[in-house]
């Protein structure tokens, strides 16, 4: 456990030295503030469009941070050959993968807290309403989603040769699932034969990342999500993270580390 947290701490230190988060946060803040200053029929109480823009930017930024950070973890260690002294500590290959995952996941949590704090201040200043519990549900859901994505990207970094190809494929898969994942069974219902079966199988196999998107819920002030289904979805996400992480450990154990 100590080894895992030691590796996670290194990942965290690397994260705050890099400028990705700062640039994305400043961009998000700037765009949101500019949008907030737009005069719409002299009504300064209009807030939902601002929530929509800000949440969209937060989602894009957090996915960019998660995917780009996780994609370069293992390849960077291999390229700089620091992976050899690291594994000679002794740190097992499984501990290295889990440590990298935990580090990236904690970094994502910190980034999300900063982003949502900004979001809360901006929207609270306009509507004088602070649904803290709903925001907690949304942040935690997004964090669970990022956990699945991080595990998926770590697995990808051991399967694909280049960081760029891994990141691109992961972006496409994530956006694909977010847009279509929940509708595959409806598409399958209009298909026949093998294609219908394959589409249905994909529908039941893929992690349904769209569960974790509470943006419309927050924008339209629908109150709290029922805790029962919320907890089930959290469990569902943790299981998928564990599955991807397990596959990543398996792939890393069999991987030759020489370049």
């Amino acid at each position: 456990m100590n080894n895992i947290f030691a590796i996670a701490t290194v990942v965290l230190k690397e994260m705050y030295r890099r400028k990705d988060f700062y640039v994305l946060f400043v961009l998000t803040a700037l765009i949101t503030l500019v949008m907030g200053s737009v005069n719409i029929f002299h009504d300064d109480k209009i807030v939902r469009y601002l929530k929509e823009v800000c949440l969209l930017l937060i989602w894009i930024s957090s996915l960019v941070i998660a995917i780009t950070t996780a994609a370069r973890q293992i390849p960077a260690e291999r390229e700089s050959r620091t992976i050899f002294p690291l594994l000679a500590k002794p740190v097992s290959r499984n501990q290295l993968i889990v440590g990298k995952f935990v580090g990236c996941w904690i970094a994502c949590a910190l980034a999300l807290i900063v982003f949502y704090a900004f979001f809360g201040v901006i929207t609270g200043a306009r509507e004088h309403f602070w649904p803290i519990a709903t925001y907690f549900q949304a942040v935690f859901f997004q964090w669970i989603l990022l956990g699945i994505v991080l595990a998926m990207v770590l697995l990808g970094s051991l399967v694909f040769t280049a960081v760029s190809s891994n990141a691109t494929i992961c972006f496409i898969v994530v956006f694909g699932i977010m847009l279509l994942g929940g509708h595959l069974h409806k598409l399958a219902a209009n298909m026949h034969g093998v294609s219908a079966t394959i589409t249905s199988v994909i529908y039941f196999i893929i992690p349904h990342l769209e569960f974790y998107d509470l943006r419309d819920w927050i924008i339209h002030d629908h109150g709290l999500v029922a805790w029962g289904p919320w907890g089930l979805a959290v469990l569902y996400g943790l299981i998928y993270s564990a599955i991807f992480l397990g596959f990543a450990c398996l792939a890393f154990r069999r991987k030759a580390l020489t370049l």
Binding site: F41, I46, F204, W217, H220, H222, V225, Y236
Partner: protein, 293 residues
Amino acid sequence: MPGISAEGTDVMSKLILALGFVSTFSLATWLQPRFAAMHGNQSENQSALAAMMGDSRRLFAQQFFVKADAYFHSGAYPGIFDAKSGDTNKAPDVDMADAAHGQGESDAELGHESSYLGRSDDWIEKLGRNFFPTIHTHLDKPGQAREILPWLKLSAELDPQKVNAYVTASYWLRHDPKHADEAEPFLREGLRANPDSYEILLELGKYYGENKKDPVRARNLFELAWAKWQQQKAAEKKPDELMGSEILGELVRNARQSGDTQRQLHYLELLKPLATDKDSVQKQIDALNAGAK
């Protein structure tokens, strides 16, 4: 350069420079008339955004208009995978715009799970429905509907020919006492871009009649709207008959307020062929004729 003297290199660089100047001058002469033509057509190209995006902006304008309708339904809105085959002829913008014309859907579904979702067949779908808005509500209380306005304004900015955006935004602005006066400049902006729009003239007439309590100005606007409607009918542009009857209905109401029975009868006669309930119009005509005798 190998094989070329220093003097030759000097001459060549001067020639390349001259070629550059000639090319840029030619490009400028080619571009100038196109820019002039573009700026000449003011109703089509009012903003840099329009010049930059070309006709693709109409697509985005429609998208933002639909977004406004989704906001009107508090996010419980069908996506492309949810629309049932039988409803495909129904434009997604109907509800919000219908409400603006007093033809909103029935309240039977309000407060319940939206019917477009259908029955959920598997546990993934059942679980997923807990995380997006499914309860059918409307933002139709005073002050609530303001949330749809940014998207309508953006839609109108991207496509100034989108008359529905002006009319719908104006309807909701007029019904908010604090912002009713914002409706007029927005409608005037729409009228500048669509000088033949009877819809905008009708809405402007309602603004003067209902909000400004100025029946004379309202009547002039309704009459102009009716004239525009007739012009389009004569030009076989198939104007909306429902809108035509709405304009005549406003003219009848205006004549009733001013106690002008002859004008009231005149517009009722015009309304009869367009009205969905012709018997009711005939009864009004009969009642007025009986009163006159």
